[in-house]
Symmetry: C2
Subunit: 222 residues, 2 copies
């Protein structure tokens, strides 16, 4: 079904810029100069403009007519709001999944959690991070609603750099594990509201505890 998808330069540039912004390579409010970027990427202004336009739609930059585009890092308030929405969206996924999930997917989730547990035991937080991602993506998928899945992936991606900070908190990994297991248990029991509550708490804690980490206001600059 995927015909060929030879991406054009402007898309590639958009992805790259998106990565740079999410990484925090640009300070908040910084102006993204078209000619400067054109020079940097060795292309003309046209693809740059298209890329910036896409980033505007994503909400990563703000475009002021006749003035230029400026990177727009979310402030603490907006971040907390976004985490709240993320928590609620995942809660919806969980509730829907509780009645829609397949046996097979449930088994996969369990297996995934076992592997997560191993990673936690060995203190491999990177591995855990990866598997945590897979866990959440599976949950989105099992909501049985492809549109919801897409929306969740979108927001998840947007919050990614801020989420990673969260794993650095001491003892967070094992706590996170427990929460995952509660979610799976609720799904297995077909208890939608329990699954929703579990995952909501799991995600919300990231938002609520988040500002404790906000001593550096910039996102994870790895």
């Amino acid at each position: 079904m995927v015909p060929r998808m030879e991406r054009k330069r402007s898309d590639i540039i958009a992805d790259e810029l998106e990565g740079l912004i999410l990484e925090g390579s640009f300070t908040d409010g910084a102006r993204l100069d078209e000619v400067q970027l054109a020079d940097r990427f060795q292309v003309s202004r046209t693809p740059i403009r298209e890329a910036l336009h896409r980033l505007t739609q994503s909400g990563l930059v703000e475009q002021v007519p006749r003035r230029g585009v400026f990177v727009r890092q979310p402030g603490p308030v907006e971040l907390i709001e976004m985490f709240e929405v993320m928590a609620e969206l995942e809660a919806v996924c969980a509730r829907l999944a509780a009645s829609r999930i397949t046996e097979q997917a449930l088994e996969e989730l369990k297996a995934l959690n076992v592997r997560c547990l191993d990673a936690v035991g060995q203190g491999q937080s990177d591995d855990y991070y990866e598997m945590n991602e897979v866990f959440h993506r599976m949950l989105y998928r099992q909501s049985g609603n492809a549109f919801l899945e897409q929306e969740c992936l979108r927001l998840h991606r947007r919050l990614k750099p801020f989420r990673r900070l969260q794993l650095r908190v001491r003892g967070r990994l094992s706590q996170s594990m427990t929460e995952h297991e509660q979610v799976v248990a609720a799904l297995e029991a077909g208890d939608g509201s329990a699954a929703a509550s579990a995952i909501r708490a799991h995600v919300a804690v990231q938002g609520e505890k988040f500002h404790h980490l906000m001593s550096s206001l910039r996102p994870a600059a790895e």
Copy 2:
């Protein structure tokens, strides 16, 4: 705070095209020719391209590299999924609003419902439609989460042409009224889950009953 916002032509064109597509002026899968549109809007290809790019991000059209952009009307399945997400998002708004809504806003909602009731009594479905919009927008606002509000508005706008069909169902208006009142009552009681359930049902019925109206697959072409 609004500096001037002299919109550029490409934005105006994007809005116009968006309206045309949502109205259903283009059949699904139709190709949007750049030069043709440029000629139609009396501009060069550049603003057209920017507008089409924006529509791509909105999901109204699909861009196939080296082939062109094609309007992409959501199919029945996708529409039902979108309505489901809308219902859940509004449910979240309601639940959050139950504990966050101000007295003043509550009064406004009540007043609005009284006016809605009048409109229903007089069979003025257009008036009702307008006030229904305001009701939902107020609910989004009262979630106390600006990001959630934005997301709700976005999806609401996307579903607008399909939602309108719903009002044509006989007896829907008075039923809708009752549901609104249930929501307000739950909000007043501070009962989040009741408010969520009420609004979820209110919106979901649109999605569920939607395919009964799908004899004509095209959106409301007024």
